[in-house]
């Protein structure tokens, strides 16, 4: 399971930064920042937004539920099943495989979303 931000990833990147030249530092720092900021998917009115969402490999995607009903994220291809998110609840998952991943809300599977992970 690779849910939530992994402190180890950041630590490894810092080590890497020290080992590399100045040119590489900029790139790595940018990537680390992107990963830290992650990507957001909002849930409003039983709708995932944005979808599809395209992210870089190893991006952490955070879903935030703004509805008065609980929702969840179920992605069969990743065997991913979040706990129910109640109002203002969030769930995060770090995508560490390239590919296109369809997901639904486990409580309301007519809600569809898609994450496209690029290298």
């Amino acid at each position: 399971m690779t849910d939530m931000m992994q402190p180890g990833v950041i630590a490894r990147r810092l080590l890497l930064r020290r080992a590399l030249g100045a040119g590489a530092v900029v790139v790595i720092a940018t990537r680390a920042m992107a990963a830290e900021q992650g990507a957001q998917v909002k849930i409003d009115n039983f709708t995932f937004s944005p979808t599809p969402l395209t992210v870089k490999l190893n991006t952490t995607v955070t879903w935030a539920n703004h509805d008065d009903m609980p929702h969840s994220v179920v992605c069969p291809a990743l065997k991913l099943k979040s706990p129910p998110m109640d109002t203002d609840g969030t769930f995060s998952h770090t995508f560490d495989h390239v590919g296109t991943f369809d997901y639904v809300c486990g409580l309301h599977p007519f809600m569809h979303g898609q994450i496209v992970v690029q290298a």
Binding site: N45, D67, D68, P70, P84, D86, H108
Partner: protein
């Protein structure tokens, strides 16, 4: 939309709309008949039972910050009945998030009525441990994911579970194992046996865009074709919908917690916030209206246009 007023075809069901959060069913002469809680009727010796639904214990949002109170009101209406029903049926979403404390509150409140409660789970009741927290409490003596049947008052009751494997289109499903069990369960019954089927998600297609239907519900109904009286009771959509099709009558019950919009009338099926002071009216507690059985039924064919 069809309105069938042929008394021969719908004679078994003296039907009416109701505005109570609980609904009483009377079986007179082998024929299930619904009436409103709150309607003034003398106590009879008929067999009766009550349906409540969608209590969503644990919900605390603006649509109803106190769902425990409104469930209590509904149960008070039940205990105030002149003739105590034989039992209650809860058609699911007992809790909002399947939390032990929410189940405990339900058991405590419903237990206070001293009535046996037969339940089926809603999708909100199986969020923990793949449904085991529900089954550990309510699954005793049931098959599979919690389906079962029993006989009472000359009626054969069948509780079905259609929330375990919601389909990608959002619809409920029964699954092959349950369908095979159902076929076998009714095989040896005589066709004159009144049948009452209860499940959380409507067995008929109310509104596909919101997943308000059961993908293999029609298959289940083929096993019930031979019976002269089939009554299907559902919840899930937090509003009254009725349809009569041949010898089968379909009903969905109101919630005791909060209303949901009519199909397609809102952006989503989320809880409907109504003006302050009107909630109970929408849950139907305060305003009981009985429509004569001679009046046309409020029959809804699916889906309603938005």
């Amino acid at each position: 939309m069809t309105i069938d007023l042929n008394p021969q075809r719908r004679g078994f069901l003296k039907c009416m709309t109701w505005a109570g959060t609980a609904m009483v069913w009377t079986v007179a002469g082998g024929v299930p008949r619904s009436r409103l809680i709150g309607s003034a009727e003398a106590a009879t010796t008929d067999f009766t039972f009550v349906q409540i639904s969608d209590s969503h214990l644990g919900f605390d949002k603006p649509a109803n910050p106190d769902v425990t109170s409104t469930l209590k009101v509904a149960l008070d209406d039940v205990t105030a009945l002149k003739q105590q029903p034989s039992f209650m049926i809860h058609t699911g979403d007992i809790t909002h998030l399947s939390k032990p404390a929410q189940f405990d509150t339900a058991a405590q409140l419903c237990g206070a009525t001293k009535l046996t409660m037969h339940t089926v789970p809603g999708e909100h009741d199986i969020l923990e441990e793949d449904g085991k927290s529900y089954l550990n409490r309510f699954g005793k003596g049931t098959k599979g994911d919690g389906w079962y049947s029993f006989n009472a008052g000359g009626v054969h009751f069948i509780g079905l579970v259609n929330v375990m494997n919601l389909q990608a289109n959002g619809l409920g499903s029964l699954g092959n194992a349950q369908l095979e069990w159902l076929e076998d369960d009714v095989k040896h019954l005589t066709s004159s046996t009144p049948i009452v089927v209860f499940a959380h998600v409507p067995l008929w297609m109310v509104y596909q865009d919101w997943g308000w239907g059961t993908s293999d519900g029609a298959q289940a109904l083929t096993y019930l074709k031979k019976f002269g009286s089939v009554t299907v009771l559902n919840g899930h959509i937090h509003q009254v919908m009725q349809k009569v099709e041949g010898q089968v009558s379909f009903h969905t019950a109101r919630s005791t917690a909060f209303p949901q919009p009519a199909p397609g009338t809102a952006k989503s099926p989320g809880p409907m916030v109504v003006p302050a002071g009107e909630l109970k009216q929408h849950l139907g507690i305060a305003s009981v209206k009985l429509v004569s059985s001679k009046a046309p039924l409020a029959i809804v064919d699916t889906p309603l246009a938005s």
